[in-house]
Subunit: 423 residues, 2 copies
């Protein structure tokens, strides 16, 4: 063991700050995830510098090489954040039964597909046309930003709908179904884009990555789900305490590592692990047991994302303009996609559905962090995507509340999918 007291102090500051900001934002009726990211920006090395600087004993561990020590500290933060986002996507997967996915209504599927297509096309076009950071590999950077603009944060929307008592309405059901389709499409896009991002463009590799991504997803979803369904009862025969939960953790870590190993994002593996286990979750109480780990580790992901944002980037007029442009197109893309897919419904319903798809929250942040990890997007573009994720997440809830005011909602009979824990 090395002398890692300084790192422990950083972890304490990160966690305490995340939770304090979450509390503050909850009281302000804002999503806590927004507070976690913003407080990360505040305490990070680009602003107050309360965390993220190696202390003397860490530097001396690297023979006085300050830069290496800072890099090592970054790696530590990234591993903790990665564990957090793995748990997050595992949890999202647990909420996503393959059966529900196959049963999802046509309307939801259409909202999902169009709500992916429009933001992606608009975002890609904007970055490609303006090339704000003189990117070395413009197509890849544009594709990453566009992918980050794609996925709705189902947690935030579900929470707002729940708060205003609208979770059982037709609109809510369409939004929740669409968000699942949209998550899967975003993860598939991310697999392909991150497979491309690592190297130079190569048509064969594009094809192989796409095939690998699709094969992995299909295999895990279909074969994995069936294996779990057939054999999960045997888990109870193991001797170690709480074996089903521990095997679930092993599957989660294993598929995450495997996804990373074959060049996909690790979180795709985590999501698939969750989805495979979704049908066994009640039997083994998986969600209830995963929740404390979620609450311990997930905040680290968001606050650490925040520490990587350089607020100074927005003093550059071009970056600020691009950030505003990306945010505007991210909103517009969902409104257009949702609007077209809602043809035949009242205008207000279409507006509710479109607005419900607007918050990008954690999914945009996940895409940004993957892109930044493989060097596919610049620090400035990373900050732009974080800006967009935070801005859409702040904007949507009050608009949703306003659109629902005085609007007669049709409650449906069956209970909706349970909401995710607050993000």
């Amino acid at each position: 063991m090395e002398d890692i007291t300084g790192i422990l102090v950083d972890l304490f500051v990160l966690f305490a700050a995340a939770k304090a900001a979450g509390e503050l934002f909850t009281r302000m009726r804002q999503p806590p995830v927004v507070g976690e990211v913003l407080v990360g920006v505040l305490i990070g090395p680009h602003a107050l510098g309360l965390v993220g600087s190696p202390d003397g004993s860490l530097i001396s561990l690297f023979g006085g090489d300050r830069e290496a020590a800072a890099e090592a500290l970054d790696v530590v933060f990234d591993v903790i954040a990665e564990l957090g986002v793995i748990i997050l996507l595992f949890f999202v997967g647990l909420e996503t039964r393959l059966g529900d996915l196959l049963d999802v209504g046509k309307r939801s599927a259409l909202v999902g597909v169009l709500g992916v297509a429009f933001p992606f096309a608009l975002g890609f076009a904007l970055i490609w046309a303006t090339d704000p950071t003189n990117s070395k590999d413009l197509e890849i950077e544009a594709a990453f930003v566009a992918t980050a603009m794609v996925a709705t944060s189902i947690g935030i929307t579900a929470r707002v709908l729940g708060d205003i008592g609208a979770i059982r309405t037709r609109e809510a059901r369409i939004i929740l179904g669409a968000a699942v389709v949209d998550d899967i499409l975003a993860l598939l896009l991310l697999s392909v884009v991150s497979g491309l991002g690592g190297d130079d463009f190569d048509a064969l590799e594009v094809g192989l990555t796409a095939v690998a991504a699709v094969a992995f997803v299909v295999f895990a979803a279909l074969v994995g789900t069936r294996v779990i369904r057939q054999y999960s009862m045997h888990l109870e025969r193991l001797q170690i305490r709480n074996s089903p939960f521990l095997v679930a953790i092993i599957i989660m870590l294993g598929l995450s590592a495997l996804a990373g190993f074959i060049g996909l994002a690790a979180i795709i593996g985590a999501f698939l692990a969750g989805m495979m286990l979704a049908e066994a979750k009640e039997r083994f109480n998986l969600e209830q047991q995963a929740l404390p780990i979620y609450e311990f580790l997930v905040p680290f992901f968001f606050v650490i994302i925040g520490t990587k944002v350089d607020p100074g980037a927005f003093t550059d007029a071009t970056i600020l303009e691009i950030a505003l442009g990306v945010t505007a197109l991210a909103v517009l893309g969902k409104l257009i996609g949702g609007g077209i897919a809602s043809a035949g419904l009242p205008v207000r319903s279409a507006a509710i559905i479109g607005t419900g798809m607007v918050p990008r929250g954690e999914v945009g942040l996940v895409v940004a962090s993957v892109g930044s990890g493989i060097g596919a997007i610049s620090a400035d573009m990373f900050s732009v995507v974080v800006f967009m994720s935070v801005a859409t997440t702040i904007l949507a809830p009050p608009v949703l509340v306003w659109l629902h005011r005085g609007y007669p909602l049709e409650p449906l009979g069956e209970p909706a999918e349970p909401a995710l824990p607050e993000l």
Copy 2:
């Protein structure tokens, strides 16, 4: 985010190996913790090398400096292991009410004190007299080895007593009470010794460290417990979900960081945080919520400890002799201490009490890792202490079972303290 896929693969291998070994050892009716350490030795860089070697992308992150990348990987492992051991000691603290501690019978206190004094004296004398590794700072190294020989692993003993249905006997009660006293004394010793280990010997500093250690422990135990008792109900007023549990985590991380900051072992802070919260644990369901985090993170501590052991060290006859000698004195010290303190009880009861105090398990490993972290004990001595911890943990359970066979136990009325989760 950096490309940390290699680290994820390592974490998966560590966790899966730990759990597989735990399962195997449970089936062999051995403590799973022993399996976790031994499998760590097996897969670690000194043996099979399945984990602990930086991959290409990590090395390239450090500009091709392989050594810096390996050091960074070590730091990552150490931080994960440290989080694990912090949770472990937090959990032990949750099981230790200050009231129970103050109420503990005279006999338990005597068993605890003598069971600390004899192993410490014998261990210190052995290392000091033989100086097997030509230590630069012999007194400190001897004190660390002696401290590692002090503390009983309450989890292992409690588990064995539970398994044979002897948890409510007088002997069990004495052992459990003594183990608490023994844990506290060991932690105090560790505070003092680790305060000394960092620098050259300085009488003033010895005094200050001892005072700081005692003041911190007393303040946290008395004032902290009272503050929690008085104000914990206000935690329910916080808006974020599950706020009492999250505040408990913040207190745990905060006191750990604070303990580290003032030169004590971080785990002492974690233990005190747990003890402060012991009276609020039922109200807020703290144990049940901490358990999944425990099961996720604690195995990393033991398997990572294993990876640091160089089995090659024991091919050196001197090291092997010292390892056997330290183990013999660790057993003898507890038998003598327990025997003297059990004066007036039947011989078999005294033997049961002494044997019940023998397993060192995780506490010896914790001391070894702290000593190694501040450079106070050499790699060889680290391996010696791990050997002693594992050997005492393997030896005691079958002897305890054998001593109980055919011995009429006197069951007591009230329920005993709940046993710790399996270690």
